[in-house]
């Protein structure tokens, strides 16, 4: 009974991640019209999540820098802590990153979805491991934020690597011996919408087809040796899997947004503490 309750509690603790991924999954697999209608709210959501994570990381970095170089009593602490400029910059970058992520998810091959979904438990496990490692070294109040900041790179790298390896076995459209225009004409996604989303989908699809066309024809025509061909393919697929980075940042952002209360509490305490001596 207690074990079940604990399991439920664990599930509840990560419900926001599950919810986020579910929303993305449903939207990505939904039809053209529905996806077009829901594009704006989903984009806002994804942007917000990514921004929440990246703002937290940026504030952390900034504070570390300020604490290192500025005197404690300098008013620059207040000015440089990160204000509107930083927020707007991160919002912009986050919006673009979210766009890339969403478009890539729309075009993701169905067999790769399990890998993407498995990223959620992977992230949770990685976070727990990292937190336990860091607990002995990092100040407790900063532990969650530092963990979130550090977990992004290894998790995203691992996820991208798994995606690449999985893609190596996936069938691709046959493009050998076709002209570039013909290849694009033949495999052009016909059912994308008319608006901005459809435009970006077509753009990304064309880019991917071109990459695959280049690599397939190069491999077949020049008879590349296996190691060289594998290197080329891996590089190519790695560039295509960079959306894993945006994806992990989005998940981490969801985490940051949900646990944000505690952060703000800490922040508030911190501010209070700083202002105290004055």
């Amino acid at each position: 009974m207690a074990g079940r309750r604990r399991r439920l509690a664990t599930l509840w603790r990560h419900a926001h991640l599950a919810l986020t991924v579910l929303v993305l999954l449903v939207w990505s697999l939904s039809g053209r019209d529905l996806a077009g209608v829901l594009f704006l709210p989903i984009w806002v959501l994804a942007t917000q999540l990514i921004v929440a994570g990246s703002l937290e990381a940026a504030r952390l970095r900034r504070r570390a820098w300020l604490d290192q170089y500025l005197r404690d009593d300098s008013p620059w602490h207040g000015w440089l802590r990160g204000g509107a400029m930083m927020v707007v910059r991160h919002q912009l970058l986050g919006a673009l990153l979210a766009l890339v992520l969403l478009v890539k998810l729309r075009l993701l091959a169905p067999p790769l979805w399990p890998v993407v979904l498995a990223g959620v438990p992977g992230l949770v496990v990685a976070q727990d491991l990292l937190r336990r490692r860091l607990a002995r070294h990092v100040i407790t109040e900063h532990l969650p934020a530092v963990t979130r900041r550090l977990v992004v790179v290894p998790t995203a790298g691992l996820l991208a690597l798994i995606l690449v390896v999985a893609t190596l076995w996936l069938p691709q459209p046959w493009l050998v011996g076709l002209g570039w225009e013909e290849a694009i004409l033949r495999h052009f996604p016909g059912d994308t919408g008319g608006a901005v989303l459809g435009f970006f989908e077509r753009l990304v699809a064309i880019a991917e087809i071109s990459q695959h066309w280049t690599m397939q024809n190069a491999e077949e025509r020049f008879g590349l040796a296996m190691p060289l061909a594998m290197l080329g393919w891996s590089l190519l697929l790695l560039t295509q899997s960079t959306f894993a980075w945006a994806y992990v940042r989005l998940l981490v952002g969801a985490e940051a947004l949900r646990r944000g209360g505690r952060r703000h509490q800490h922040e508030a305490l911190h501010v209070h503490h700083e202002e105290g001596p004055k």
Partner: protein, 385 residues
Amino acid sequence: MSHAWRPSTGRARLAIANHPWRGWGLSVLVVMVLLLLFEVGHGWLASRSQSPLFRVIVAGESLTLDAGTHADFSRDLSALSTEAEERLQARMRPWLDERLERAFAPLEAAVPDYLDWYFSPVGSYTRLGVALMGDLDAWLDGQLHQRLVEATGLESALAELQADYPRRLASEQQGLADDMAETLQERYAPRQVSSGRESERPIHELDLDGELQKALQDGRDTARWSTAAVGGSGTALLAGRALARRLGASAAAQGSRLALRGLVTRLGTGTLRSLAAGGAASAATAPAGPGALVMGTVTAAVTLAGIAGSEVVLLKVQEALHRPAMESQMRDAIGQTRQRMQASLEASASAGAATLTGQLEAQTPRAEDDKAKPRTYRILGRPGE
């Protein structure tokens, strides 16, 4: 997020309380601005991109259409070509009906003559003789063929029809294609792009006249092949043979039964039995042995001679009984053969029309050698390795 924490200072509380919603609002704003920018950019790109013009050569005239009109044009073309088969059949049917009528009418007219022969004393006795000798069915087949098919010139008429049909089909197809081209030309000539813009944009050209001619050529080949497939090279000959066999299947099977039944009416049951007993095959196994064989044969001969007088009367009775049924059966068989002939010829026209349709519909994406190539490419785990 309504966390209940201890408010420390006013400023901090304000920042905390506002922060999440301010963030969301900002996200909405940023996303909206980006979306707007993209929309504008997209629209600008779409307006700037060279929306292509299409030149279509149809009914000897060159039309310049913009993309939207060209899409309409393609739709109309494909609609026209899907109903091509129906219209081709409608054009062909009167001609085909008339030719088939001409070919089969003498045959139908010859049926009474055949039946006259069948129920004449000469025919009756010949049949009876052949029945006694053995292979009545094959002989009747031969008679049918000789008296009906050959006498009426059905074979030569069908051969002529087979030779004429592809020619007629080709000319009708040509007419149909011309009709299509004219219809399209009439519909789209008024919807052309104004001539001033032609020079500034790239033009995709489609020579519909040429495509139609090519499609027609292919359709003609298909029609020729499938007409040949109706019955090999000598269709008419085979059709004649098949018809004789078909007539035989009804009339000759009936004929052998009738012959036996005729024997029954003419000879009476007892005589028949003695005749059967007198037949060489049954006599050899008869329990009575050689003596009975001699006796049986003698009995049969005597009986046959004895009934000769009443023969003509009995034949009339038999004719009155069976002639109408036989005649209608033969006419049915002829009608069925005719229908089959018509169906197979029309099938070849459909094949031609289907080729035409397929050619016209497949003219934009050319997928000639798709089947020869593998559909998917695998980096690792190819089936062959």
